[in-house]
Structure formats: structure tokens, C-alpha cells
């Protein structure tokens, strides 16, 4: 088999874990890992570390403690810093005006973060990305619906060239969640994470970024949805619209136009 491979180095393995490799090199490293199980295990451990560290430390919009003031700060600049911190805290929990509001942190913690976590765990798993495949989609939907006590269907994303690969059930604190995985012709994968929750209102979060992954998440009634992938916000929004248009998945949400910066 002809390849352009240079030998795979430690640097490559780290770059692979941190998504800092070009497409070509990434495929070469993956190829190499498939025949080097010891290094593959090392890489998997490192990847798990990334996921765990991100779960352990999520962005802290709200302070967890008051500063003890043990540092000597010039009074004027301390005041300026305090103003910034207050501004940040005041705006931390609240979102778009038109939707009834809900603290971001709850949705972030119980929907967006676990969805990204699950995407990182499974989307690039070479062995078993899904538990039940698309050829068993009827069984899959029945199983998921019965476990979640709610009629769940895997929306079709075919209009955007994404085919269903399958899905799995995931534990999520005191609730079950489902992850449907889709793939397009270029091999790009997106996951749709669905979970019931104690959400009182409709909420739509701005895109959440973790390294190369973007997640769009929204809640409606007690259902929460999060769509994750590396395909960029615009394409994700198109997919989100398809999900929201799925007739059997509650009434369609009006898709808020997310401000572009």
C-alpha cells in the first residue's frame, strides 16, 4: 500500500488528540494507530483525559467564591476590575430577549456539556460509534422511546446529506438521554443528543465551542436537544432547522437568528 507516511512521532500523537493535525496526516495517524494497539490505548487514555478535564472544569460565568483580597492591588484598577466582574456576573445567566429566560448554567450543565462529552466519546470511536445501527432504526426508536418514556424518533437529516448511522442510550444524572449519530459523504459526523429535563421554558443557547466542536442546544417544554459537530455553525444551524421541523418531535420551534459576530 503506497502512502506518504513519515514515521508517526510522539508529536503526531499529541497533535492527533488535540485536533491539530491536517486532514491528510490525521488519516495517516489513524491508519497507524489501527495497527499499533499499545499506542492506540495511550491515545485513548489521553483523549479520555481531555474529556474528563473539560467536564471537571467548565467555564465559570458565575463566581464560586468572593475574592479574599489577599493581593495588593492599586485601588483604582481594583475598582475597575470589580466593575468588569460585576458586568460579567450580571449578564452571565441570561440570553436572547424574545424567549422566556432560564439560567444558562442549568441547560449548559445538563444538556450542552454532556452532549459534547458524549460526542467526543463516541463520534471518533473506531470500534463502536453506535450501539444499534441504522438498519435497526425501528427497533432503536422503540427501545429509546420505551426507556425515555416518551415517543422519540431519529429525525431525518437527509436533506442536508446526512445519513443516520444509529444511536445509543446514555445515562445522564437521573435521566436517560439518547444520542443519534449521523454521517455525510465526506465522513463528517454529527450527533443529536436528546434528553428530558426539568426545563420550564423554551431556551436557545448561542453556539458553544469546545476546541473544534460546536454545539447548538435548545429546550422546548421538557425536551432538550443538542446538535454537535465539526462542520461549523452555519451547517449546524441548517441541521437544527431540520430537527425542529420533524413533525413527531413536538411542535416546531421558531429558529431564532443567532447574531453573527
Amino acid at each position: 500500500m503506497k502512502t506518504q507516511n513519515q514515521p508517526v512521532t510522539e508529536h503526531d500523537l499529541h497533535s492527533y488528540v488535540d485536533n491539530q493535525l491536517g486532514e491528510q496526516r490525521r488519516r495517516e495517524v489513524e491508519q497507524w494507530l489501527s495497527t499499533h494497539p499499545v499506542d492506540a490505548e495511550q491515545v485513548r487514555d489521553w483523549q479520555q483525559q481531555v474529556v474528563d478535564i473539560q467536564q471537571l472544569y467548565q467555564p465559570l460565568a458565575l463566581p464560586l467564591a468572593a475574592p479574599a483580597g489577599r493581593r495588593q492591588l492599586a485601588a483604582g484598577w481594583r475598582a475597575a476590575a470589580a466593575v468588569l466582574l460585576m458586568v460579567a456576573t450580571a449578564s452571565a445567566g441570561w440570553l436572547a430577549r424574545d424567549l422566556q429566560l432560564q439560567p444558562v448554567s442549568v441547560v449548559q450543565q445538563q444538556l450542552t456539556a454532556p452532549a459534547q462529552y458524549a460526542h467526543q466519546m463516541y463520534a471518533s470511536d473506531p470500534g463502536r460509534p453506535v450501539e444499534l445501527g441504522a438498519n435497526q432504526v425501528v427497533d432503536l426508536q422503540r427501545w429509546v422511546s420505551s426507556r425515555m418514556q416518551r415517543r422519540i424518533v431519529a429525525p431525518s437529516l437527509q436533506a442536508q446529506q446526512f445519513s443516520l448511522l444509529g444511536g445509543r442510550l446514555l445515562p445522564s444524572t437521573n435521566r436517560m438521554a439518547v444520542q443519534f449519530m449521523y454521517q455525510d459523504d465526506a465522513g463528517e459526523r454529527v450527533t443529536l443528543y436528546i434528553r428530558r429535563g426539568e426545563w420550564q421554558a423554551r431556551t436557545q443557547l448561542p453556539p458553544q465551542q469546545q476546541q473544534s466542536l460546536t454545539t447548538l442546544s435548545w429546550t422546548q417544554g421538557e425536551m432538550g436537544y443538542a446538535l454537535t459537530g465539526q462542520i461549523g455553525v452555519t451547517r449546524l444551524q441548517q441541521l437544527a432547522e431540520l430537527v425542529q421541523q420533524e413533525p413527531s418531535l413536538s411542535t416546531a420551534l421558531t429558529v431564532a437568528v443567532l447574531a453573527q459576530r
Binding site: P7, V8, T9, E10, H11, D12, L13, H14, S15, D18, N19, Q20, V38, D39, E41, Q42, D45, W46, Q49, V50, D52, I53, Q54, Q55, L56, Y57, Q58, P59, L60, A61, P63, L64, A65, A66, P67, A68, G69, R70, R71, L73, A74, W77, R78, A80, A81, A82, L84, L85, V87, A88, S91, A92, Q109, Q110, P171, T173, N174, Q210, Q211, S212
Partner: protein, 178 residues
């Protein structure tokens, strides 16, 4: 209406946007929520004071992280290690509402293992894994060579593996990039 302060306030808004990340980094670095707030407040004060030194259209996030890093480093050097005023605390409970006790336990162990890394190793690992910074940017923020970033990253990851593993883990030494 022309507002001469509009440009300034736009930059301040951009700084405010970075606060959650900076706070997270401060917490992960120091292992203590109070220490983190102190470090955050001091970093912001320094950043505001020196905002004129930041070149617009360059990476503001990297610049802010550099400010925080430099402050923490000089504090660290002055007091030897983590000052006793700020005891290490277990993060998992206050931060997470995870009802899964096993998960809690696992993450608490991870935090302990992270705090046992050297500061140099922890900084690199956090900037790479939490902030998703390219290695080149990490080198810039920490004012070290990229090769040093890679070797610290490797040591950090392998330390964590052996620190957390139930059995010893093999890891092969491969050729390094120079």
C-alpha cells in the same frame, strides 16, 4: 453620534467575554476557588491598566492568559509553592450537580492528580485541553519554546495516566520532532 469611548468599551466588552474562561483557568491552575477569584481580579486589574499595550486585532484571549500566567508565576516564585492561605479543595462537589457518585469520585481523583503535576506541566495541559490553544500559542503565552510545550505536555499526560491507572500503563517512546 460619535462616541470617543465606543472603541474602548468594545475592547472592555471583549475582555468581559473572556472572564468565564479566565476564571476557569484560574480555578484549574490554583485548585482553590478563593485563590482563583483573587488571581482573576488581579489579572483583570493588570490587564485594564496595560490595555494600551495590547495591539488591536491580535489575539486578545492569548494576551489575557499571558497576563494571568505572568502574575501567577511571580506569585508562585515569591511564596515557594501554593501559599498556605489557599488550601487545596476538592472541586467536584460544588461545581457539578452530577448525581452519579462514581463519576464524582473519578473527577475528584482527576483533580487531585492534576494538582500534583508541576505547575509547568499543569499550565500546558490546561491551555491545550481546556482552551484548545494551538501549541504555538501556548508557547507564546508561557514564553517557552514549542519543543518545551510538547515535552511538558507529554510528561503531564503520562503522569496522569500512571497517577490514575489501576495497573501500570505501557507507553512507547517514539521519535520526537526537533
Amino acid at each position: 453620534m460619535f462616541n470617543p469611548f465606543r472603541k474602548q468599551s468594545r475592547v472592555r466588552d471583549q475582555v468581559v467575554e473572556q472572564i468565564p474562561r479566565l476564571r476557569r483557568y484560574a480555578r484549574a491552575l490554583t485548585g482553590n476557588t478563593v485563590a482563583a477569584e483573587d488571581l482573576l481580579q488581579e489579572s483583570l486589574a493588570h490587564a485594564l491598566e496595560r490595555l494600551g499595550q495590547w495591539q488591536p486585532d491580535t489575539d486578545l484571549r492569548a494576551w489575557l492568559f499571558t497576563v494571568m500566567h505572568n502574575l501567577h508565576i511571580s506569585e508562585h516564585r515569591r511564596s515557594g509553592r501554593q501559599p498556605e492561605l489557599y488550601p487545596l479543595e476538592s472541586l467536584a462537589e460544588p461545581l457539578l450537580s452530577v448525581a452519579d457518585a462514581e463519576q464524582d469520585q473519578r473527577l475528584a481523583e482527576l483533580e487531585r492528580a492534576l494538582q500534583q503535576l508541576t505547575l509547568e506541566q499543569r499550565e500546558v495541559l490546561l491551555l491545550v485541553t481546556l482552551e484548545g490553544m494551538p501549541y504555538r500559542t501556548v508557547a507564546q503565552v508561557l514564553n517557552i519554546a514549542e519543543g518545551t510545550v510538547m515535552s511538558r505536555l507529554h510528561r503531564a499526560r503520562e503522569q496522569l495516566r500512571s497517577g490514575l491507572a489501576r495497573e501500570p500503563k505501557p507507553g512507547r517512546m517514539l521519535r520526537r520532532v526537533k
